[in-house]
């Protein structure tokens, strides 16, 4: 099967610091792939580069067979990549409903059917649709960020640390929703610090260390690997 997203040896700099040092990976249609690694490994930077917020110095990014390396962020969204950013970044001074409508921005107006889908998947948001997004709890904001991203009907959904700062019960809920999305056919690229969780719900995983992919493969296999156990799962190894 051909790759939906093909990232080919990208290098990203912050000033003089090389944050991503020649990373390549791919996401195939229908897959759920994770990038795991410690803080500062370059995971978020890679997602930002794919969505066009940062430009890579070298390398190439292809989506649906087309080169998007130099495309503007808004054009990349239009092509079908949604990005749920780290820290959720909901529009705090807008209502929940307006946030969801912003998600459908590329389609002009939110379709009735899509709204129904969103509220069916996240019933809490229906209850709170008139509330300002800033007044939601962390878990609700995460759900809003996901609902908002889904409104663009993406071919690929990228999620950056969706479990960050949430209580264990909420983390459980968020991962359940991710599994549901996947079951519904959404292709997902997940960035996680919670390696254990990520490995359990994804098909394939790339392990990043200081800007390089150090390990990759089937998540099931990596979960059993001594190296991963020692470094990321706190196991005896």
């Amino acid at each position: 099967m051909s790759a939906l997203l093909q990232v080919d040896s990208i290098e990203v700099f912050y000033g003089r610091i090389r944050a991503v040092k020649g990373v390549s990976f791919e996401v195939r249609e229908g897959e759920i792939v994770s990038l795991i690694g410690a803080n500062g490994a370059g995971k978020s930077t890679i997602l930002k580069t794919v969505s066009g917020l940062i430009r890579p110095k070298t390398g190439k990014i292809e989506f649906l067979g087309q080169d998007i390396t130099k495309a503007e962020p808004h054009a990349i969204v239009r092509r079908g990549i949604a990005h749920v950013p780290e820290g959720r970044r909901v529009f705090a001074r807008m209502s929940v409903m307006e946030n969801i409508e912003m998600g459908a921005y590329v389609h002009g107006k939110a379709a009735e059917e899509e709204l129904e889908n969103a509220f069916a998947r996240f019933p809490r948001l229906r209850e709170r649709r008139r509330q300002l997004a800033g007044t939601l709890s962390g878990g609700e904001q995460q759900m809003l960020a996901m609902a908002r991203a889904l409104m663009s009907k993406p071919a690929l959904m990228m999620m950056d640390e969706p479990s960050m700062g949430l209580s264990p019960i909420l983390v459980e809920q968020i991962f359940d929703i991710i599994s549901e999305l996947r079951a519904a056919g959404t292709t997902i690229l997940l960035v996680e610090q919670n390696a254990n969780k990520a490995l359990r719900i994804t098909d394939r995983t790339y392990v990043l260390e200081t800007g390089r992919v150090t390990l990759s493969g089937e998540s099931r296999t990596l979960l059993e690997s001594d190296e991963v156990k020692r470094a990321y799962l706190g196991g005896k190894g």
Binding site: S51, G52, L53, E72, P73, H74, V77, R78, A82, H83, P85, R89, V90, F91, A92, R93, M94, E98, E101, M102, G103, Y105, V106, G108, K109, R148, A149, S152
Partner: protein, 295 residues
Amino acid sequence: MSLLETIFRQILNGLQSGSIYALVALGYSMVYGIITLLNFAHGDIIMVGAYLAWLAMARLALNPIFAVLVAVLGCTILGMAIEKVAYKPLRGSPRISLLITAIGVSYFLENAAQMIFGASSQSIPAIIKLRAITLGGVQIPGTALVTLLTAGASMAVLTILVNHTRMGRAMRAVSEDTGAAQLMGVNISTTISFTFALGSALAGIGSVLYSCAYPQANPTMGAMLGLKAFVAAVLGGIGSLPGAMVGGFAIGLAEAFVSAVGLSAWKDGVVFAILIVVLLVRPTGLLGKPMHEKV
């Protein structure tokens, strides 16, 4: 004139100049909200608007309606052009570079006007020829009435635009979190350009209304007006549109009352005293949001 009439007259004066300050303050606030720039060239756009109205009426002998169109359209285009030429290339630069550029643009406009039109004032023919109406024994001058109605209508249209249209929503999204707005598919350049167009159109309307009250155009007329509108925006809470409106009217009324008690020489001083007090006591302004440094 009875005391009551005097008070009423002064309130009317205050509202008239206040509505002009409000229109100009809105432009300051919108631009600040979207790219955190204090656009000090904004006041000079009013000056250009006044000259355009003068050109259209005194030189080209156009009908006042066309003169208004020329002034408003001219300001809109000028505002967008300034953004494209002066500010857009600096996107991503430190805020101070942008601020200094704005001051440079302001000087450029003032000196260009002086070069083209000369340093002395040009008098603008009457734009509004409307007789005063009498309401409950008090005369309301035609220009005051038209100014209040026009400013009110413009603010209503702006409020609807910002709160209930797709472009307005995009503007608010960019102003709150530019990166997140981009991830929703918002084209930042278009949105910024639109914001400048909108703010400058309001300044254009303001310039016409100002020219009705003070029918003279001179190269530096925008400086003081712009500064006062800036104070109005800060008083209301810069970045907040209702704040800009409230701030504008508050400054207008404050000036009118200072003049009414016989201290007109202190009019400008009071406005800047208000700025100092606001900055000391409530830096976020009346309706401003608490400030967060963007990480």
